[in-house]
Symmetry: C2
Subunit: 423 residues, 2 copies
């Protein structure tokens, strides 16, 4: 296989899909909007052109299937999502769809058969942009679909269930999407790293060991508002500087974490009704804390919240926090991780193992299936969720080569053993 040439094919496919956007100047593809339907139509065409049998399921996932010809063969599912965040990047999600399509086309040309049925799923929704319904595409396949999201409305007041019916989809069919784990070999996903780690390490590929769990808190500090000129420093209870000290405590604690895999972010920070000449009386900020394993993450969170309470007590302000999200970490399947690392190493360099700080469809699929994930270097300083997200064709080609090597080693074990038990 010509890795550079297949890499160019993959990058070109991402560029083609990136033509469709809800906003003309960026790349925004919200579930079931016009751009989303256009991308789905393109994907059907790309899949059909690669000789795949194409179907669309009840939630709008576009599925291309390539049989290995052996009756009763189990299925290896691979894929990723084709919706985007607001003004996102061209490779986020789409890479994990077009890379296996390109490989399927290559396999058709060489006539090679894989030791399993291959299913490439272009998940219709993962980002939750329109309905705050993350993992809408993958959750039904592993029995994790939350039917209450069907009642959610978008910014225009449209219910999710109605939007699906308008698009010719069938909410009632979602329950039937659950796969029998006994028929599935596992799930494999290729994804752009969305961070600077591989770039900094000088590596094209990363083998994901675990998908970080995340915990989020919404925090509020209440002090005493006052005139910026008339209250001496020693008599102040400034909510803004108190909160500033808290977010620095978060940063310091995570930077010093012994596991070196904990990250903490105060992504929102605002003095409420702030004015230049008024001492802040209220400040709100968020804590987003992630770790490759839940233990170190939860220890860090406890330390940070304790620091916040100590800072508040010392400064005579009130600290309140509310847990708004708590998702446990999902370890990748160890035998699959090792196999993927061996496939990467077969290209000539030892595999770079790393946790994924972001959530992916693999996190959802990994709840019921063996799972592995390959990261591809993110250019441009590691910028993602942005139109400035880039990837080289050479790196995409390396990812395709590693994927094929990994696939060739899958499915050789006894096909009658249930998937989970096999690993």
């Amino acid at each position: 296989m010509e890795t550079l040439s297949i890499g160019q094919e993959i990058v070109a496919a991402c560029e083609r899909l990136g033509r469709h956007s809800d906003d003309p100047d960026g790349l925004t593809v919200a579930y079931l909007g016009a751009a989303h339907r256009a991308v789905a139509a393109d994907l059907k065409e790309e899949m059909a052109g690669a000789g795949l049998a194409v179907t669309v399921d009840a939630i709008g996932n576009v599925i291309g299937r390539r049989s290995c010809g052996r009756p009763g063969a189990r299925t290896l599912i691979t894929g990723s999502h084709f919706d985007t965040v607001r003004n996102g990047g061209r490779f986020d999600g789409r890479l994990g769809i077009v890379l296996p399509i390109a490989l399927a086309r290559h396999l058709n040309e060489t006539g090679e058969r894989l030791p399993f049925d291959l299913e490439i799923i272009a998940f219709a929704e993962e980002e939750g942009l329109r309905f705050a319904s993350t993992f809408l595409g993958s959750s039904p396949l592993v029995g994790q679909f939350d039917a209450s999201v069907l009642e959610r409305t978008d910014a225009a007041g449209v219910r999710l269930a109605d939007a699906m019916r308008d698009a010719g989809l069938d909410p009632a069919g979602i329950a039937g999407l659950r796969r029998d784990p006994g028929t599935v070999l596992g799930y494999y996903e290729v994804h752009i790293e969305q961070g600077p780690v591989l770039l900094a390490a000088g590596e094209a590929l990363g083998v994901v060991t675990s998908i970080a769990g995340g915990v989020r808190h919404s925090c509020r500090v209440t002090g005493s508002a006052g005139h910026a000129g008339t209250v001496p420093m020693r008599l102040r209870h400034d909510a803004g500087t108190a909160a500033a000290e808290m977010v620095l405590a978060l940063e310091e604690r995570c930077s010093a974490d012994p596991s070196a895999t904990v990250v903490g972010t105060a992504g929102r920070f605002e003095v409420v009704r702030g004015a230049t000449n008024v001492i802040p009386g209220e400040c709100q900020f968020t804590i987003d804390l992630r770790g490759a394993a839940d233990g170190p993450r939860d220890l860090a969170l406890a330390d940070v919240l304790r620091s916040c309470r100590e800072i508040a007590a010392r400064r005579g302000v009130l600290f309140e926090s509310e847990l708004t999200m708590n998702v446990p970490a999902t370890p990748c399947t160890p035998a699959w991780v090792d196999a993927l690392a061996a496939a990467v190493a077969s290209l000539g360099r030892p595999a770079h193992r790393m946790p994924s700080g972001a959530g992916h469809d693999a996190m959802m699929m990994g709840r019921a299936l063996p799972m592995a994930m390959l990261f591809v270097r993110c250019g441009n300083g590691g910028v993602s969720h942005s139109p400035h997200e880039t990837m080289t064709a050479a790196d995409a080609g390396q990812a395709a080569a590693a994927t094929l090597a990994f696939w060739r080693g899958r499915g050789t074990a006894a096909r009658d053993v249930p998937a989970k038990a096999q690993e």
Copy 2:
């Protein structure tokens, strides 16, 4: 004089004026709005009822005059403003109008003559709420009026000059409001402290030594936005935590200032387009730095800006700041300060001398005239610019007694010496 009874009269007058508001639930009186006109009408009535000769000048200041009967006597001007901030307090400004009116009424009853002509000016505008035109009422009297503000428009697009004409005022007459300093003894203002210093010190009255100058900067920190899960702590350039460190440097520097009269505030602080799961790429905050004297204030500012630049360099982010205001401090006239302190001490307690952190009409009037200012304790923790601003009748009565004692000692010097030279 019954100090408690005159204090009750003063507090009741502030409560009466506080009935008029542009918003029904708060106290908002913007220049030339309906509430503003109603307050002006009430003030004319209060002044006339106290035997004062009432006029309204070209800018809308309501003036009550009480002659001492000596031909060629110079005038002591006292007063304050009757407009408010949005949702302000009942004593802010109004105290300095109704207190001398109550004293004039008292003097009429006792038949006492003061050694000068007394002029009580209710300044129509000081806060700048509607047209961002601070000191509109007082600046023409000392030749500091900036005619360009006449072209400013309010939120509804109404020009200041047109609003004045609609209210029957005469923009062309503003230039003629300038007073000949040779005819004026000086300016004296009573004002609620608007801070917690007197409350903390257990004193009813404060003698102002200087009105702090203020310098303001608008600051921006630019780092690198990134995914909150995928960028390790050591590879981040977080604009939010960088800015947090900067505002703590501001707080620390001002708290440790050797003059103990410098205060620094970051009243606005916001991660721009912040999202829970995104590392802040841009953060904006403001610096408001004040000092009783310009030297310590400017030293503190230089130190703070240097700290910000050092923090930015260490963290690999960009720090930019823009000077948006720079007003020098206005010292009160030393001989008047001493005389006012003696008047306060005559009530039984040594005078508490203190700077004013807020700007007042006295700051403007002090640019051309001898000037002194008396602060009255602010209740309720020192809260001001709020409907929760309070003052006791006992404290208001003490302020009236100190004011009368101070007045009795004024104007006994040669009446033909120009005001500035005399002090």
